[in-house]
Symmetry: none
Subunit: 235 residues, 2 copies
DNA sequence: ATGCTTTGTTACAAATCAGAAACAAAGTTT
DNA sequence: AAACTTTGTTTCTGATTTGTAACAAAGCAT
């Protein structure tokens, strides 16, 4: 079985080995590149289905490689980065990356993401049905607001931006993705940031308060005492 | 808070001690096993949420234990190994391990991985005590009421919330999950809170009384004299 | 019945929880 | 470096939740 061709561009040979072996047993053909120059060559030669791009490359910034790659091929690109920095993530996604994964990651997660990217990139090109269809909702409307995932923004229906910070955005997104379900602070913490949650941490509470304020103190986010918070679709 | 039950299978008693103490202060219940035989017994008896499996065990290879464990339970398994060998790691993951950690490791890392595994395994099987019923038993109807686990609420059939506190909710949930079975106060205490139950503690009684009141003094919760309480499905 | 034990009820006190505000720390931009 | 943004900490406060104590009621045995 060949599920697809993957080009892994990474300076870190150990990681390369692990990733390659795993993905091969998982049914993919895997090719390796260790620097930008050979990567570009490989890409135009073989047109892989998915490209794994580590941002730390020997011959310069991997970030500059991203647009070059997108120029030569329509492959899906998953950026691999050591930083779990959200702004970098956004930059990458804006530059055309299809997904973003931070080290250290688990092979299964990588595999799942590859599968997802493959599905998305292949959905766009099978015949000409309707190219307007998006696999995942980029925009979620709720009440008088709109959550725009493409731009990481929350807007009111007039199109006015509500100046959500990234942290606030992610938290709201996490809540909205599980409507009518009470999520613990611990869980919300997990979903929106790295690190460990300890029970005296009130930061989620604060952020909820800030979100509520920006949403005009509407009660879309209910507090579930002793548990956490819950989003309830308005109207 | 009880975040979950962990079974640590390890020959190395010193490591066991350190790990156990740390995880307990971290909010988990931790059980120990020192060889394959007792491990299997323990697993089928208690169905832990996560299993820590050290590959070096006295009575043979721990690796052969892995599939046996997966056969008896759906617990997440984290393999602990002295070798940082990648192929071994892959083998473990292919055999069904959910994660892999190499010695020496930091407690915080272990904790983070446990949390991640818990999250994943619980996403797959959300509270599946009865595996024969619907996979998502988020809502349990009983008599004229509904127990909604997603929202941590008890409602009447009209959809009106009965304002259960989280403590009351958990207690009712514990009872309902074991219908027609008398549960001791001790057990109920264990199921719903942390700390030690002492025999003069009447708090369970009080909470039962409050639940009954909110359920309109119906007799869904029967008292079993000298033992504790029992939920009997109405109608 | 008569004690004795167990459970239910009530009132009250203690503990816990979440919101708000003010402030501090960290990260960005200029 | 200075100004600004974003995020987290601390403290205070009111409200809810929970536990304790005392007593009443019910169950059980003789």
């Amino acid at each position: 079985m060949n599920k697809g061709v993957i080009l892994s561009i990474d300076d870190d040979h150990d990681l390369q080995t692990v990733v390659t072996e795993y993905l091969q047993t998982d049914g993919y053909k895997v090719l390796n590149a260790y620097d930008a120059e050979s990567a570009i060559k490989d890409v135009s030669a073989i047109k892989p289905d998915v490209i794994l791009l580590d941002l730390v490359l020997p011959d310069g910034e991997g970030l500059t490689l991203l647009p070059q790659l997108k120029a030569v091929t329509s492959s899906g690109v998953i950026v691999v980065s050591g930083k779990s920095d959200t702004t970098e993530k956004i930059i990458c996604l804006e530059m055309g990356a299809d997904d973003y994964i931070t080290k250290p990651f688990e092979m299964r997660e990588l595999s799942a993401r590859i599968k997802a990217v493959l599905r998305r990139t292949h959905e766009q090109t099978p015949q000409n049905t309707k190219s307007t269809e998006t696999p995942k909702d980029e925009i979620i409307e709720f009440g008088e607001w709109v959550l725009d995932r493409a731009q990481y923004q929350v807007l009111d229906k007039g199109g006015q931006s509500l100046n959500f910070t990234t942290g606030e955005f992610k938290l709201l997104e996490a809540l909205i993705e599980a409507p009518n379900r009470a999520l613990t602070r611990d869980h919300l913490f997990d979903l929106t940031r790295d690190g460990n949650f300890d029970s005296y941490d009130r930061s989620i509470d604060i952020q909820i308060a800030r979100i509520r304020k920006k949403l005009d103190n509407n009660d879309v986010i209910k507090t579930v005492r002793g548990v956490g918070y819950m989003y309830t679709p308005p109207k």
